[in-house]
């Protein structure tokens, strides 16, 4: 019997925007189906709807869907594995070990049986050292690895993976591809749906790929998804003649007893674009937060324009901007307009809406990716939230721009637009320091720093 999910209508009730209408997604056993689509097209919403999880953040998101046959997610909860896009949202216990054992023990397995089941996959993802740690101490990448290991160990009939590799390092991505391929062979009854912006990942692991386009789910050829390289007009010229904007000397930092950074030295010149990379949990985000002056207890020296960061506390928001890894926590207001106005209030200026509704680079992004000033911030998609968290850089034009995984959760076209804006900022003299696991970002940087 053919299995499928039929969707009558999914709408964002506040704006009445229809995400999906009169369409269906076939479900095939032993097949990995990929979901592809633009930022804000409704991929994550679709995944949450299939999982049976309501997407409503009480303030205004409403979904109407017709299931065939109608089922309640509670009735088949143990058959569904669901990895949410935001890595930390997947963690429900306080200790990593409890997290990994939670579902397996719920099925009646003993501790030894669970350990046995987890061992192979734990080794592949290199998470053995994490198992005694507290869940809140994990980095985003480490949290994502734990969520993946937990979901892949279970005997699910339906596995839903929403951007599962967005924060993974290269080694873990390889492990993920390997495990997923084996899973589809070893468990032929399992249906896997994988949503991602990573065209290369989809073409490598998915048997069939669907694109959300014009409110419908359309089947596309996986091989048509070629690797999409970012194009930069930024020249890799010798920056040595330029002034040093950022200087990090012998920087060491520990979280309680856990040493994260040790004797780090880094120099960034004016207009330079530096990419920091390294394995999950190595301290990339911590380094950016230290440079941004958010944490004070460190050994060594951090200087911005030859001044110690500790002495810059009054003026540093005018010099530095940090776009954090988790956009949810960087958004502070109810609507997009209020969010933008908030910056201007503290800069003692008034907000001009024509900057985001006219034919400016930002206005074009807002229009093409369906972000309007009336939108409720927390009903936006993950990628749209990321754009919103980057908006202050358009107005502030900081001397040092720190971006923590700025391209995760956003589609290729939007990445390219943002890249063009970063290009123009670099040319105007802004130094950009960002973390990224993606080769295509490394290729367009002037310096790659391996942590």
């Amino acid at each position: 019997m053919e299995e499928y999910i039929r969707i009558k209508k999914i709408i964002v009730s506040k704006t009445k925007r229809v995400l999906l209408q009169n369409t269906f997604l076939p479900l095939e056993r032993g097949v990995i189906a990929g979901i592809y689509g633009r930022t804000g097209s409704g991929k994550s919403t679709l995944m949450r709807v299939i999982a049976g999880v309501k997407t409503a953040y009480t303030s205004g998101l409403e979904i109407s869907i017709l299931w065939e046959p109608a089922n309640l997610y509670r009735d088949f909860s143990n058959s569904i594995g669901f990895i949410e896009q935001c890595p930390r949202d997947n963690l429900i216990t306080r200790r990593v070990n409890d997290e990994l054992f939670f579902s397996l023990q719920s099925t009646g397995l003993s501790e030894d049986e669970c350990s046995e089941k987890l061992d192979d996959i734990s080794r592949l993802f290199n998470i053995r050292s994490l198992r005694e740690r507290s869940a809140i101490e994990l980095s985003e990448g480490e949290a994502q690895k734990i969520a993946i290991v937990e979901a892949l160990c279970r005997d699910c009939e339906l596995l839903l993976l929403d951007e599962p590799t967005a924060y993974l390092d290269e080694q873990s991505k390889q492990a993920f591809v390997e495990v997923l391929r084996n899973l589809s062979i070893q468990k032929p009854n399992c249906r896997i749906i994988l949503s991602s912006h990573d065209a290369q990942l989809l073409s490598r692991v998915c048997n069939s790929v669907y694109e959300i386009r014009n409110q419908s789910i359309v089947k596309i050829d996986p091989h048509s998804l070629q690797r999409q390289n970012l194009i930069s007009t930024f020249d890799k010229i010798d920056m040595n003649a330029n002034k040093t904007v950022l200087s990090v000397r012998n920087l060491s930092f520990s979280y309680k007893s856990r040493k994260v950074l040790e004797n780090i030295n880094l120099d960034c010149k004016r207009g330079e674009r530096v990419v920091i990379y390294g394995q999950n949990g190595v301290g990339k985000s911590t380094l950016l937060q230290l440079i941004a002056g958010l944490m004070k207890r460190y050994n060594g020296k951090i200087e911005i324009q030859s001044k110690d960061i500790r002495d810059l506390h009054d003026i540093w928001p005018e010099i530095i901007y940090l776009a954090m890894q988790e956009p949810n926590e960087q958004i502070l207001s109810e609507t997009v307009q209020e969010e933008l106005e908030l910056n201007y209030l503290f800069w003692e200026q008034s907000f001009d809406p024509s900057l985001v509704v006219g034919s400016t680079p930002l206005g074009n992004i807002f229009r093409e990716w369906n972000i309007s000033l009336d939108d409720q911030t927390f009903t936006l998609s993950y990628g749209q939230k990321r754009v919103l968290s980057l908006v202050p850089i358009f107005f502030k034009k900081p001397k040092l721009l720190l971006l923590d995984e700025p391209f995760s959760g956003i589609d290729y076209e939007l990445r390219q637009r943002l890249m063009n804006i970063l290009d123009s900022l670099s040319k105007e003299g802004t130094t950009i320091c960002m973390t990224s696991h993606e080769h295509q970002v490394w290729q367009i940087s002037s310096k790659v720093f391996n942590l």
Binding site: Y73, S134, Y321, F346
Partner: protein
């Protein structure tokens, strides 16, 4: 695994966290008797025992200076208290000490039971709420820190202009509560999706008994004896 991780893992092997659920439960219930104690000398003994358990547990608890300070104050206060004469603040001392110790016991219980054990002990209906709120409380600090950082990087600072002050507080409040709501919602759904409700309580009893479990049971009995027998008999036995 690094040397530090190994040391940490080894320490946790011998910690109270690895005890059998029954031993943990009996210890906590016995020490819970502190709430019904009236004798400051007994309260002092209970305080010392709870403190020892906190160190034995080697959990986040002992790394939290405020919690440790809390219980040390109770112990120090009870030592300073003159046992032989009646003091006007006796009731206040005993009431305060009892409350402080019960709260400390709560912290200890939270850190010594695994989520799975709590799930079973608290019950099917209450436990998602309890564990969800525990996860929420634990992450509240982290969320708050991130929001304050987000305000700082945006240049949104606390200042004396009434309008800005209002916007600072409202932006913090909005982001904080929305993030907590988001967290509670996802934790709740993940709980259900990951098979909550299908766990068999009998699995908890299958766990092996170790030597330290017997030690915990002995401590439990001692605690109950101290709580029940009048102080004069205890002091007479030890010739105090």
């Amino acid at each position: 695994m690094s040397t530090k991780d190994k040391t940490k893992a080894l320490s946790r092997e011998g910690s109270i966290y690895k005890l059998h659920t029954v031993s943990k439960l009996s210890l906590i219930i016995a020490l819970g008797l502190v709430f019904f104690l009236h004798d400051p000398r007994k309260i002092t003994i209970f305080a010392i025992l709870i403190l020892a358990l906190c160190f034995w547990s080697y959990t986040d608890f002992i790394r939290h200076p405020l919690k440790i300070l809390f219980i040390l104050l109770v112990v120090a206060g009870s030592f300073l208290y003159d046992w032989r004469t009646s003091q006007p603040f006796e009731k206040i001392f005993i009431g305060g000490a009892r409350l402080a110790l019960v709260m400390t016991l709560g912290f200890l219980a939270e850190s010594m039971f695994s989520d799975r054990e709590l799930r079973i002990l608290v019950g099917r209906r209450l436990s998602p709420l309890l564990i969800g709120s525990l996860v929420g409380i634990q992450r509240m600090g982290e969320i708050n820190k991130n929001i304050l950082h987000a305000q700082k990087v945006r240049g949104i600072h606390l200042c004396w202009s009434l309008r800005k002050l209002y916007r600072w507080f409202s932006s913090w409040g909005y982001a904080f509560f929305v993030n907590i709501a988001r967290l509670t919602e996802t934790v709740h759904y993940q709980f259900i999706l990951r098979g909550y409700g299908q766990f068999k309580p009998s699995l908890l009893l299958k766990k092996k008994w170790n030597l330290v479990d017997y030690l915990a049971i002995i401590i439990t009995f001692l605690v109950i004896i101290i709580a029940i027998i009048p102080w004069s008999r205890i002091s007479g036995f030890f010739n105090v």
